[in-house]
Symmetry: C2
Subunit: 250 residues, 2 copies
């Protein structure tokens, strides 16, 4: 496969649980050495970009913070000067420092992944703001992710709950939204046809990228389930095999 | 309006918060005296039918328990001999006494209204059962209800969350499902054209009934919001005005 640029998912692709995928650190290095431009495109909404970066460095990855594209950082320009009620992990607020916050009469309700923090009370308060006229913006709409103890609900189901309750469709920021991939392509400075996206999520990563004309590569780690690779341009057992797969054909 | 039978919603129509709608007790009496057959059709899934009945009697309503049709009682035959994991208010279990329960490998996940009990952990456990093959049955899919302190999320948003997460469509029992109205018509022994449904919910009560050929009457109490009456056959300020509205034209 011929690719000058590569968009790389993080959780489930470079690491699972607390550990790096075996061989992934070296694979990132080899890919960079071979002249391929990399950007790391994550839907993670439970940590600020700084922490995402620190985590990758701790695992040994040679990645710079500016190479990481997150929904929260991308959402700031979408929200603009409007007031916002955040339904996001508290740690994420540092990425939203330029956003004007308002609990009572927000113009925007911003939803990220709260995990166990998705209580009835918080959802109901957000719902009332939507009924009072606020717009619903979702940092991502992933269905679930693979936690160390099994599958776990992501932000998507709670976004769907608020959409159903309010009758309003959310504006979604993260993968697989076109605007998010477009922002990543702009940073690479490449046309879609010269870029591949690699990830463990058959919908958000692979199908989302392919809809944009970006090649989709499925890894069989993370939330991968048998058969997920059926719509990918390429499937590899893990990210560690990717450098070889790309180089053998380029 | 000519109606031999009347289906009556409870919460928001006969009472709001803890109190009966002014004049509603007498209106039920007048309607019964005038020879109209009544059935009380509720999507309430936080109380067993016995308690629903006790509450109505306490408020002074001359209603028998057998006249009340609830989703839980209707769900029992739908579940049949299959094992079931309930995501319902504990008090509702007496209506499900004939259902075989199983926490770990259920064939059915049954969702009612849990209110504050809808925690991430309970939703995630149910989600995992669905991913392991269980069918999703929802006692109702109401969007919200009007609590004394304001609008409150009903079971519907959480059903929508589980549907989105699992990729499975729920089988819904309560209003506005055809099967639920059909069960009510069967109890009345009347054709749809001879029956009217009165309620505060423009979707579940009024639109649901009209889709079946039952006349839809909107009351302007409970969760009513301005404009909701636009698709009703008749609108009245409250249930107290209904006896007169029906009798003046019959």
């Amino acid at each position: 496969m011929d690719a000058s640029g590569l968009l790389v998912d993080l959780d489930g692709t470079l690491y699972v649980g607390g550990g790096a995928i075996s061989g992934a650190v070296e694979a990132v290095e080899r890919l960079k050495d071979s002249g391929i431009s990399l950007r790391f495109v994550t839907n993670t909404t439970r940590k600020p970009r700084r922490e995402v970066h620190e985590g990758l460095v701790r695992l040994g990855f040679g990645i710079e913070e500016r190479e990481i594209i997150t929904p929260a950082r991308t959402a700031v320009s979408l929200i603009g000067s409007r007031s916002c009620r955040p339904l996001v992990d508290e740690s994420l607020l540092e990425d939203l420092i330029d956003v004007r916050m308002s609990e009572d009469w927000p113009e925007v309700v911003l939803v990220g992944d709260l995990g166990e923090g998705f209580s009835y009370g918080r959802l109901n308060a957000a719902f009332r703001c939507l009924m009072d006229g606020a717009e619903l913006i979702a940092l991502q709409k992933n269905r679930f992710w693979r936690r160390s103890d099994g599958l776990a609900l992501d932000a998507g189901p709670f976004v769907a709950a608020l959409e159903y309750a309010s009758g309003k469709a959310a504006t979604v920021v993260g993968k697989p939204e076109e605007s998010f991939f477009r922002a990543a392509l702009a940073e690479l400075g490449l046309e879609p046809g010269k870029v591949a996206m690699v990830g463990d999520d058959a919908e958000s990563d692979v199908a989302g990228a392919r809809k944009m004309g970006i090649k989709g590569i499925q890894v069989k780690t993370g939330k991968y389930r048998s058969g997920d690779e059926s719509n990918a341009d390429l499937a590899v057992d893990s990210f560690a095999d990717l450098a070889e797969a790309l180089q053998s054909k380029s």
